[in-house]
């Protein structure tokens, strides 16, 4: 499991081997990373829900009624959801970091 850097900005940029990149490139990279993490949250939720829960969520989304409430309800029913989410995010970070670090300079 990835150990996340304490000094977040410089640590992550160093992890990604972007510490010497231009400011704009660094900002863009962090935005890309953020968007990926947002999507991981969505994908993890979709992956871990049962068919019945998926139906409940899809129905709420289609009717646009109590959507967030249903999401909370469903995610509360998934055993250890937040740990799974945390692990998914950490593993995602570790994979991206490893790939960036193994790239030639």
């Amino acid at each position: 499991m990835a150990k996340l850097p304490d000094n977040y900005i410089s640590g992550i940029l160093k992890d990604l081997k972007l510490q010497n990149a231009s400011e704009k490139e660094q900002a863009d990279a962090l935005l890309v990373l953020q968007d990926r993490f947002d999507n991981v949250v969505m994908q993890t939720l979709v992956a871990l829900t049962s068919p019945e829960q998926k139906t409940r969520l899809t129905s709420a989304l289609q009717k646009n009624v109590r959507v967030e409430e249903i999401i909370s309800e469903v995610s509360s029913e998934i055993p250890e959801f937040s740990q799974a989410l945390e692990q998914a995010l950490l593993a995602e970070y570790a994979s991206i970091r490893d790939a960036m670090q193994s790239a030639p300079a």
Partner: protein, 547 residues
């Protein structure tokens, strides 16, 4: 037309719509797998051909491959080609096959057999084809590494579509995708590499979800409902709230306890909002309130907030009564009242100084306390407390930093990005200092829980951050210095690390830098302004040279 061929066509046409659809999916899945493992063995294609093939739709590729070929003695007709190669509901096969073709070498022979056979003989052949595919897959495992990766990739997507959900499987799939795309990624560097890498992983993740009909529907519904970044955070907030309520709070408890002990009493009100449920869960009667709280601002202010959180009228008389009790319990002199001789003077006390005796205060107002400390309270129901914490964060302020800190992790690129754009004199330091590392106090708005009073500085800082993010976006969009000046005027000035610069000041400095009278270090870095000016000056020079 041969009679038997016509019969096959008729047999397919005569099938009900759903069966035809299923048949098409089955056929195309089998074809796609066959394409993946068999075509991968073909090394006769040049690099240029491979590139061309990558651009082709699977439908076109298969159609080209099987055109004019005979299968089991029958010449395949265009109807069958289209039917099996994509005219039906062939998204499954197309996506897998396109991916496979993208990743490995395309070939020929087995396609004709696969397509023709599956289309003509339906499910029976499909099953036989599956068996054959497994044998081929086993064979390819001993061969070229790319083939192995492609095979594993396709197999894993199939597995993920049918088996119970597996985050581990999903992640393995994303890593496989990145490995398969290694050659393409090899040529990219830095931020470009990151973008490509994320795109590959994103694509693989989306496709793997799409292999399952229910997941696909839900995923599409989510995508359409939560299209912007802020929207996605609303989703994350709701999901995390549920996750925490659902029993993920164990790890959170300690952190929340630290949080409560360490600094801010405002969250107490958030905790107390759920106290009825806490009581129900624990099976104890009465209210739950901490006996020890960190001082916030003054003893007076802390006592007032505590009374509010306990639904006790925070009138001056009541606050005075509470302060009297607290100063007595903590041996504190209130200098304004002319008190002397005690252990601590209130003016010498700092924020976060631990004040005890809140249970006594409750008793004075005829209330009973059950739990002894905030830590105990937090441990009772950390999930709900954390959920309440999250509830109190406006969606636009919810970044993964906050989420993950609350769940016990410490990563959130959104937060990092904000921090990045705030690089000033404090930017080199992490926002969380050593003493606060265990404490998410500065990650949650001080106003969380509706406590009031102490949140203005945080809100102000948050507003500044938002402004700087906007500035950064604006500045980065400027294509000329003239445009940049316009944007600077729109911002109404920029806050640097040492002072606030008015638009006129900034324009003057930039103009001097442009003329070479000053170095660019005179320009503030806020919002990436300095870099943008340097880029635009460079651009201007290049244009002049070209002219």
């Amino acid at each position: 037309m041969l009679k038997s061929e016509a019969n096959q066509e008729l047999a397919i046409i005569a099938l009900p719509e759903t069966e035809r659809r299923d048949l098409a999916i089955q056929a195309e899945t089998a074809v796609a797998t066959a394409v993946t493992v068999e075509l991968a063995k073909n090394d006769q294609f040049t690099e240029i051909q491979k590139e061309e093939l990558k651009k082709l739709e699977m439908k076109d590729l298969v159609a080209a491959e099987i055109k004019n070929k005979s299968v089991f003695g029958y010449k395949i007709k265009s109807f069958l080609i289209n039917f099996t190669a994509g005219a039906g509901a062939g998204f499954v096969a197309r996506s897998i096959a396109r991916r496979a073709v993208d990743f490995v070498l395309p070939g020929s022979a087995i396609v004709a057999g696969g397509v023709g056979g599956v289309a003509a003989e339906s499910a029976r052949f499909y099953l036989a084809e599956r068996k054959r595919k497994k044998e081929v897959a086993a064979y390819t495992k001993t061969k070229d590494a790319d083939i192995d990766l492609a095979t594993r990739y396709v197999r894993l997507t199939e597995k993920l579509a049918k088996n119970p959900p597996s985050i581990g499987g999903e992640l393995e799939l994303l890593d496989l995708a990145a490995q398969i795309k290694a050659k393409e990624l090899k040529n990219a560097k830095g931020g470009d590499l990151l973008k490509k890498l994320v795109a590959v992983r994103e694509g693989a993740a989306n496709e793997s979800l799409r292999q399952n009909k229910d997941a696909r529907q839900l995923f599409d519904a989510f995508k359409s409902h939560y299209s912007t970044s802020t929207d996605k955070k609303r989703l994350a907030k709701a999901a995390l709230r549920g996750g925490l309520i659902g029993g993920a709070g164990g790890a959170v408890g300690g952190m929340i306890a630290d949080y409560l002990h360490g600094t801010d009493p405002h969250i107490i009100s958030a905790m107390e909002a759920g106290k009825e449920k806490i009581t129900m869960m624990k099976g104890v009667a009465g209210s739950v309130a901490p006996d020890t709280l960190p001082m916030h601002g003054t003893v007076w202010g802390t006592a007032k907030e505590f009374l509010k959180s306990q639904s006790i009228e925070p009138s001056n008389a009541n606050v005075l009564k509470a302060v009297g009790s607290l100063t007595e319990a903590n041996d504190v002199d209130v200098m304004e009242w002319g008190e002397t001789g005690r252990h601590v003077k209130d003016v010498a006390m700092q924020d976060s100084h631990q004040l005890t005796g809140f249970h006594e205060v409750l008793k004075m107002f005829g209330k009973e306390a059950v739990a002894g400390t905030a830590a105990e309270t937090a441990e009772v129901m950390p999930g709900r407390v954390a959920a309440k914490l999250i509830d109190n964060i406006p969606p636009q302020d919810l970044d993964l930093k906050k989420i993950m800190f609350i769940t016990g992790t410490t990563l959130g690129a959104d937060y990092l990005w904000h921090k990045f754009n705030n690089r000033g004199k404090d930017a080199a330091k992490p926002r969380v200092n050593k003493a606060q590392k265990q404490n998410p106090i500065d990650l949650v708005p001080k106003s969380a829980g509706g406590g009031g009073g102490g949140g203005s500085a945080e809100v102000k800082r948050s507003a500044e951050e938002t402004k700087q993010v906007k500035e950064s976006k604006l500045f980065s969009e400027a294509t000329s210095l003239r445009e940049l000046y316009k944007f600077i005027k729109q911002t109404g000035g920029v806050k640097g690390s040492e002072k606030h610069y008015s638009p006129a000041e900034l324009v003057k400095i930039i103009s001097q830098v442009r003329k070479g009278l000053k170095s660019s270090s005179f320009i503030t870095r806020t919002g990436g302004l300095r870099n943008r000016v340097e880029e635009l000056i460079q651009l201007e020079k290049s244009k002049k040279r070209a002219a």
